[in-house]
Symmetry: C2
Subunit: 414 residues, 2 copies
């Protein structure tokens, strides 16, 4: 079954704001066996709105309309859907009462035009909105000779998401033929998308019943598997079989077999081994620490570290001997080694990481170009240092350096 | 004049990937006086593609089609546009030769089906693609009785953006009536969107000829102004007049009058005053350092600091007396004060910042709930500490804490 998602709002047609709800809705619909084949983003002019809804009715059976349910003159979704379906709208007295009660509870007086939010389409079920004032609507109707499922949902993600999960998903399950869909997400670090695809395409090519999508972003590869079968066991068995074959092929490049983030995996291994970590960051400037501390509970194994942008701080916080800096320079194998060893000692952790490099766009030389990064990992007995030459802008070089450092820690712990 | 943007590609209809090109194209079109009134995202089924292009031709005069120009069977943009416009396609021998030359230069043999990329629509101008193999196409044509400007552009942003700027913008300028559009971007920190709007709406309401858009994200408010006039001077005068009035109203909440980021402004003030900065981060875990070091040249005034997740490191790197931690706890006014003073001394900077708090979701108590954050800023003579109670999830609390810390430094420097 096919769906169209319509996002309504003039702000979604500016250079600054983008619809993101549709990613969430697509994920939920896919799990119910519904494919999204069109997304339309439209402003708040009545003619355009009706046009968009009419087109959607002509080509899909499930239509999710998001936004334009508020109390202002620009909120025209109800009217547009009614006109496209040629049905009437009635103001619901119970909903009006609820709106006034809600305003009173917040000690606000409700302007008269807010009553508009109590307008209900003929035959629609009202979807409660505990997070906001505009209720949603669910319509199971006939257009021409076809059954159509139409949902009107509020635009703010904090209102739309819980409403969709609690009130649309169960209704869709009842309305749609039962589907059993299993999914898996594998993640791998630091392999190019084309290389990853070249290695795994011959494998997933044999699993024609599993939908495989590869995404790449800043040194992170995500492989999404999805399979639909008459029973959940069959579906799960197929995605698991493919996932296992892919893991075998990519071997230790795969860091996560169920979609966890790299920093989560690193923290998981640290805890499992009873190990602790500290980081001395020069060119990444806090990026590695920030990623680790974004995970709740990270303080159990990540103690912290230092952002050592200046040479003085490299010595002050990570014991880098000034002679090393003088002889080899701040961006060198020797400095990365000293940073890793020094921060480990100073923080009294099992492992220490040191990163130094030239993130650019300025500061490069012929001998030490922009993108040159050294990363050291020390366990007290031995310190491994890798040299990398990343390309791209400052943000990309820093992201790749952080990703590489985290992956090196993961490998050290494996 | 109105435009529709059509983004083509099945991957744009998955839960994982989103069209972002349209934000760039919209910004460029707006500056030429063209409004985007529809965005359509469609997969690679021929019928859907033709349908999308035909709808666009029926309702807008400028149509930007992005993606689907590659060599594979799924790349059907050329065919779909030709069918919608009822024009023919011819394979261009010169382009075929170029494709083979390009492949040879890369020491690759070109598969025969790649010749597809040399297909040119009747009457179209070929747009060179120095960054990839698929050329774009520009079509200035008539549909029914209306003139239509249709652009076919490659999907990868690295190919689309330079092609649009170098080859579409000049052609659009020639084809469209001259427009003079001035823009300004003001940014303010730590005021709620509704509050900001309540204060500035009465002002921008008087400037009916200036388009005002307010965006809010994690404690950052952006006010976009845009004005179209018969001359650039008139347009600029109007946006500047409104910008000045808004700056007066919002006063020191405004940190940037031309769109710079808060961390850029902080670094700018530091340099201007010949001052330097260091940061001791507990709950923000490197976020502040990471934002500052994301700016090229930040090393001139930001020396670094420490991520002090554990109590031991608070003492080791930022001289926080263990007695302070014992008496008041790690999350306290006193610890924030000691962190700011200690990191300033240790890093030998003009200013020192200390942040400590409970980012959650666990670790809160009745007395010290999740969201409680203390931020200290020390100049050696005096240390100011603020207490904040942020709401939301871990990411939001950390982002607000970092934003507040940077804004406090800005205010200290003003």
């Amino acid at each position: 079954m096919n769906a169209e998602i319509i996002a309504i709002g003039s702000e979604l047609l500016t250079p600054w704001r983008q619809d993101t709800n549709s990613l969430f809705v697509t994920e939920r619909l896919n799990k119910l066996g519904v494919n999204v084949i069109f997304k339309t983003i439209v402003g708040d002019r009545p003619k355009h709105l009706v046009d968009a809804v009419r087109n959607a009715l002509g080509r899909t059976d499930v239509i999710v309309v998001m936004g334009g349910l508020g109390p202002t003159e620009d909120d025209l979704t109800r009217e547009a859907v009614a006109e496209a379906l040629k049905i009437t709208i009635k103001r619901n007295p119970e909903l009006i009462a609820q709106l006034y009660t809600r305003a009173a509870q917040r000690r606000m007086t409700m302007p008269r035009n807010n009553e508009k939010q109590a307008d209900v389409l003929e035959g629609a079920t009202v979807l409660e909105n505990p997070k906001g004032s505009a209720p949603g609507q669910w319509l199971d109707t006939v257009y021409g000779t076809h059954r159509k499922l139409v949902m009107l949902l509020p635009g703010p993600p904090s209102e739309l998401k819980p409403m969709f999960d609690a009130q649309c998903v169960p209704r869709l399950k009842d309305a749609l033929p039962p589907r059993f869909i299993a999914t898996r997400v594998l993640k791998a670090a630091l392999i190019a998308e084309s290389q990853a695809d070249a290695r795994i395409a011959p494998i997933y090519g044999q699993f024609t019943d599993v939908d495989t999508t590869i995404l790449a972003h800043l040194g992170d590869i995500q492989v999404n598997l999805l399979c639909t079968k008459p029973t959940m066991e069959l579906a799960q068995a197929r995605v698991d079989a493919l996932a296992n074959r892919l893991e075998e092929e990519l071997d230790d490049l795969v860091y996560s077999s169920h979609g966890e983030r790299l920093e989560q995996i690193v923290l998981f291994y640290l805890e499992m081994k009873g190990a602790t970590l500290s980081v001395a960051e020069s060119c990444t400037g806090g990026l590695i620490s920030q990623r680790l501390t974004s995970i709740s509970g990270s303080s159990r194994s990540f103690f912290g570290g230092a952002v050592v942008y200046s040479n003085e701080l490299k010595s002050e916080f990570a014991n880098v001997p000034p002679s090393v800096l003088e002889r080899h320079g701040a961006v060198s194998k020797e400095t990365a080694e000293a940073l890793a060893e020094g921060i480990r000692e100073r923080c009294d952790t099992t492992l220490g990481v040191g990163v130094t490099g030239i993130a650019g766009p300025t500061g490069g030389t012929e001998e030490k170009p922009v993108g040159l990064v050294y990363i050291g990992v020390s366990d007290g007995k031995k310190t491994d240092v890798v040299e990398r030459r990343f390309t791209g802008d400052r943000g990309r070089i820093r992201s790749y350096a952080a990703q590489t450092a985290l992956d090196l820690v993961r490998r050290k712990l494996m």
